[in-house]
């Protein structure tokens, strides 16, 4: 199980190349989600954003989420890598992955990781708009 906070840009596919567990024939299914910064949010153009976290608590919280997913879906392994700091459009914000014997478990676990992360983990977004900076007030629903 891996949880990492990154202050520099990272390539999700390179991370996965390095991290794929040696499952010895037991892994049938890998589900992955990658969140990327868009240059548009709620109708306004966003040039850059700053993602703040709570060093220590954020990592602890992500570790708890990963442990919950691994236990609940009997995963072979799971991964969260999350950017913080200044982020530009098209850069990866978050990578989650779940490795399981079967696809239903892998999909359910990957979805759980990203939804829990968004609703509970201590991260705060400040967007740089043409008209100035703004803290994002709250996450819109998962939809």
């Amino acid at each position: 199980m891996i949880v990492e906070i990154r202050t520099a840009p990272f390539d999700p596919w390179q991370e996965l190349s390095r991290r794929t567990p040696d499952a010895g024939g037991r892994c049938g299914a890998t589900a992955v989600f990658v969140g990327t910064m868009r240059d548009f949010n709620e109708g306004v153009s966003v040039r850059e954003m700053f993602l703040e976290h709570y060093p220590g608590m954020t990592e602890k919280h992500l570790e708890t989420i990963v442990e919950e997913a691994v236990a609940r879906w009997e995963l072979l392994d799971a991964l969260i890598v999350h950017r913080v700091g200044q982020i530009r459009p098209d850069e990866t914000i978050v990578l989650v992955a779940a490795w399981a014997a079967h696809r239903a478990e892998a999909f359910a676990a990957a979805r759980y990781l990203i939804e829990e992360l968004k609703s509970r983990a201590p991260f705060w977004k400040k967007e740089s708009l043409p008209q100035g900076e703004r803290w994002v007030a709250k996450n819109t629903p998962a939809g």
């Binding site: 990658v34 999350h82 914000i93 992360l117 201590p122 705060w124 977004k125 803290w135 709250k138 996450n139």
Partner: protein, 81 residues
Amino acid sequence: MAIVVKFFASLRERMGCAETTLDAQQVKTVAEVWQRVADGEPLPANLLMAVNMEYAEADSEVRDGDEVAFFPPVTGGAHDR
């Protein structure tokens, strides 16, 4: 020892400080910590609180050496919805 108090995001900017310390003898709960640091401003309804990096409530106890944090609702994760 003392209690370390941390603020994050928009609250950090509003408080004009990221971290302060309090004498542990003056406070017994998270709500009392807030009263000491907020100049009498009532605890905002949607403010989140943590003690030693675990989510806590206003009436959670605090002890000497604890780290208490206040922050706005989380808005993390990907910028995708």
